[in-house]
């Protein structure tokens, strides 16, 4: 079975000022995207890595990959207007692989072990997930109802899917005009088959809002043994 990887690096922004394209933010001195790709480089089982990025940042992303000597398994493609569209384009680009691992540049603290455990899992489709440690309620301006957090989990990348099945699910979603912010949701809505949930890690944080990078710096310092 051949394994491919799609890495979403879709942030658009200006180099100076906000919004800043997050994939290029430095963590411990290295761009977030490079943290992820260095791990992909160490995964012998992954044969083809496709990075989706906005057209405006394509040249810069290609240059990063060259500077960091990541090798010929890595290639960049222009992503779509939405996250879902970018995944769809990556799935098509990874045409010679059976299984595809999905990850995103903004989760730089993923570990090699997490990738390896996911790939080694006998299930075809799987996602990491975290228990929800806080209370969740329904509503916006007013509380409209209670959600049982025991029934829920927080979706965490990386994920893996049977490439052909996920691609077919994407095509069905395009036909139906449905939009998802995650592929496990898209898969369970538009494909047959189960998605296994593996316990995620509190450390595999997603860099979304500005304070996240501060937290990631602290976690990274701990990981590399720099914390006193």
């Amino acid at each position: 079975m051949t394994v491919g990887m799609a890495v979403l690096a879709g942030g658009v922004g200006r180099r100076i000022g906000r919004p800043f394209p997050k994939q290029f933010l430095l963590l411990g001195g290295k761009p977030l995207l490079i943290h992820v790709l260095e791990k992909a480089r160490d995964l012998e089982e992954v044969e083809d890595v496709v990075i989706t990025c906005p057209e405006a940042h394509l040249a810069e992303t290609v240059e990063l990959i060259r500077n960091h000597r990541l090798g010929s398994r890595f290639r960049c493609i222009v992503g779509g207007a939405t996250r879902q569209e970018s995944v769809y384009l990556a799935l098509r680009a990874l045409e010679s692989t059976d299984s595809v691992v999905l990850h995103e540049a903004v989760r730089p603290l993923v570990t090699l072990e997490e990738f390896r455990a996911l790939i080694a899992l006998p299930d075809e489709n799987a996602t990491y997930g975290l228990e929800i440690p806080f209370t969740v309620l329904k509503g916006h301006d007013y509380v409209e109802g209670v959600l049982d957090r025991e029934e829920l989990f927080n979706v965490q990348l990386p994920q893996k899917f049977d490439r052909a099945k996920l691609l077919a699910a994407h095509e069905a979603a395009r036909q139906a005009g449905t939009e998802f912010t995650d592929d496990a949701s898209l898969f369970v809505t538009h494909a047959e088959g189960r998605v296994r949930v593996l316990p995620g890690s509190d450390r595999n944080v997603k860099i979304t809002v500005p304070p996240d990078i501060l937290m990631a710096e602290a976690l990274y310092a701990d990981m590399i043994g720099r914390r006193s």
Binding site: G29, E63, H68
Partner: protein
């Protein structure tokens, strides 16, 4: 005799805040502003006028300090226009934060040219005119020059060089009446900082006028003991 202060990096940030702060100093007759952006310098002139009216005289002199060969002539012109150069504030600075593998030779050369070589050549040239009268040079280094800064290797190394050259010049110029000061600000809300930490909320960190207050205190006549040291300027909250 008229007294003159030359400020580089005066088109924005700490340099502008310092010009505005110093325009309130009664002992100064001329403030010369240097940076590339003529529009930025004009805005600084306006801000000084709002602060202090018509005195001291403010002279904007747009110049690209990466053009090292023209610096002697620039300094000579300033001396001719003002009659003296009593204080040099080396504030201009450049940063393009990159990981080691993404740091181009051009980035390294520009960083060291603006942050280190221009500072040294300016110092050499003004010292020629300062000889024989009390004068001060103040160089801005950075806390980045004294601790590891992954991702900022060129900038941090250039600032370490600033700490070093300032200490050397302070000793070398001892006895001439020229005092050399070094300050190392921590994070300050400016464009340069925004490049270094794009996700940071600038309202939560030290503002440029806090650094300007320290500079005004150091270059004032009453201060005569803090030269030759690397003075850390950090606002603790």
């Amino acid at each position: 005799m008229a007294r003159t202060c030359l400020i580089t990096g005066a088109s924005q940030g700490i340099g502008r805040a310092t010009a505005v702060r110093l325009s309130r100093e009664p002992w100064l007759d001329n403030i010369v502003l240097v940076a590339r952006s003529a529009a930025g310098l004009e805005a600084t002139v306006e801000a000084c006028r709002r602060e202090a009216g018509q005195s001291p005289a403010i002279h904007p002199m747009p110049y690209d300090l990466s053009q090292l060969d023209g610096i002697p002539d620039l300094v000579a012109r300033i001396h001719e226009a003002c009659g003296s150069i009593d204080v040099l504030l080396n504030i201009a600075g450049y940063a393009d934060p990159k990981s080691l593998l993404d740091t181009t030779s051009e980035n390294l050369v520009t960083t060291f040219t603006v942050n280190v070589f221009a500072m040294l050549i300016l110092s050499r040239e003004v010292v020629r005119w300062m000889q024989g009268r009390p004068a001060k040079i103040l160089n801005i280094a950075s806390t980045a020059g004294i601790t590891a800064r992954p991702g900022w290797v060129a900038y941090a190394a250039s600032k370490a060089a600033v700490v070093s050259l300032s200490q050397t010049l302070s000793e070398e110029l001892a006895g001439t009446g020229i005092k050399v000061y070094t300050i190392s600000p921590g994070r300050t809300a400016t464009e340069l900082r925004r490049k270094l930490a794009p996700e940071e909320d600038p309202t939560t960190i030290m503002q440029p006028d806090a650094v300007a207050d320290v500079i005004a205190m150091l270059v004032g006549d009453r201060e005569r003991t803090l030269d030759g040291q690397n003075i850390i300027v950090r606002e603790q909250r």
